[in-house]
Symmetry: C2
Subunit: 216 residues, 2 copies
Amino acid sequence: MRLTDSDLLRDLDKPEFAAVRAAFVPRRFLKGRQVFAPREVQNSLFIVAKGRARVYLSYKDKEFTMAILDVGDVYTTHTRASVEALDDLTILTAELAAVRRFLADMPALTSSMVKVLGDLLSHAFSVIDGLAFLDVRKRLIQLLLYEAERASADAEHILCFSHGLNIEQLATIVGSSRQTVSSLLNVLERDGIIEMRARGVICLPDLARLEALARE
Amino acid sequence: MRLTDSDLLRDLDKPEFAAVRAAFVPRRFLKGRQVFAPREVQNSLFIVAKGRARVYLSYKDKEFTMAILDVGDVYTTHTRASVEALDDLTILTAELAAVRRFLADMPALTSSMVKVLGDLLSHAFSVIDGLAFLDVRKRLIQLLLYEAERASADAEHILCFSHGLNIEQLATIVGSSRQTVSSLLNVLERDGIIEMRARGVICLPDLARLEALARE
DNA sequence: GCACGTTTGTCGGCAATCTGACAGACACGC
DNA sequence: GCGTGTCTGTCAGATTGCCGACAAACGTGC
C-alpha cells in the first residue's frame, strides 16, 4: 500500500540529505511484533525500509486497519494508531523534533514532509469516504481494485497478488467481520470475478467485471 | 469545532509573519454558498476569519460532514472534500505554492504548518475511529460531549450550545440518517439527559449521565 | 394573522451485517 | 504419516439502521 509517491527513503540517500539522514535510526522487528503503541510519548517519523507494517486502530476486541505500509511508506506515531510488523520489518525512525531542526535549512526536506503529511491526510479521507458511503461489498471490491494495480500477471496473463493476509486481517482493512468478508469473497469467486488460488493469493481473471461492479 | 490549537490566524498578525501574510487573500461568501469544490485544481490553504464553514464529502445524494470549521481553523483544498459557508463567511486563502516559498525562511511558519497538518490528520483518525467502532448512538453522544466543552451555562447553570444546524445536518456529522438521529435525540431528551430547547439549541442538564453513556 | 415551506417526529418494512457456532480444509512440526 | 492448531466456509438468529411515507409543529414573509 503506497500511501505517498514521495520517496523519502531514496531522498535520504542523496548527499544534501546526509545531515538529517543521521537522525534516522534503523530498528528491526520480528514478524508479528508491536512496533509502536497508540499515543507513543515520543512523536516520531518512520520509513519502512524492509518488510511490511500494519497501522491499526483498536477498540475492545476489534481492530481496524488504517494502512499496510510497504517499503518507502512513511508514517508518524503519536496518533491513536498501533503499528505492528506484518513481516520481519526494518524501519528507519527519527524523532520529529530532531527532523524539525533540519527543516529550516532544507527546503527539499520540508517539501517532502508537507507532501507526506498531505498524502497521509488524503489516504485518511479515502478511508472515511469508504466507511461513510460504501457497503462492505463495495469496500472489498475497492480494495481488490487497489491491489490489482500492483498485481503481476501469471503465465496465463491473469493478474494475481499475494497479500499474505488471512481473511480476518482482510476484514480489518475493509472494516467488517471475517464471516462477511469470507462470504463476499466466495460469491465473487463463484461468479468467476476472482479466484482464490491459495491462502493469501488472489487472482483477478475478470478485472473488467470487477471494475464494473465498483461503478454500480 | 477547533481542529487545531495552533493559532495561525493570530500568528499572521505578528511582525515576523508580515511577508507571508501578504499571500493570504480575504474572500467572503454568503451563507449557504459553496466555497471550494472537491479536487480544486489549485491547492490552497485557508483560515476561517469570520463565520463557520462545513467541510464535507459527498457521494450520490448523500453527504458526510468531516468538520465544522470555526474562526481560526485551518484547512486545505485539493482533497476530495467540498467546503460550504454555514454562516456568512470570511476566509483568508493562500495558494500552497506561495506559502511554501516562505517556509525556508520562517521556521515558525513551518512549525505551524506541520502542526496544522498533523492536527488535521489526528482529527481524521478520530472520525475513522468513530465510524469503524461506534454505533450511531455512541457517535452522537460523542458529538454532544465534544460540543459540551464549548457550551455556556444558562441562568440555571445548565450547559447549552447553539449548533445552528438542523437534524439532517447533524446526521451528516454523525454519519447517519435524519430519522435515526432524530429518534436518538428524542430518546435522550425523554431520558432527561439532553433538552432540545429550541431549533439548533441543545442543553445538557445531566452531563455526568451523558459521559457515563459514552463509557458503556 | 395567514399561507407556505421547512423541519421534526414517528412508523413499519426491509436490507445489511454481526455474532456465535460448528465442521471441514489446510499447513506445519515432529 | 499423524496430530494439532489455524484458517475457512457456512448457517441461523439477532441487531442495527436505512428508507419512504405521512402528519404535526415551527418559522418566516407578507
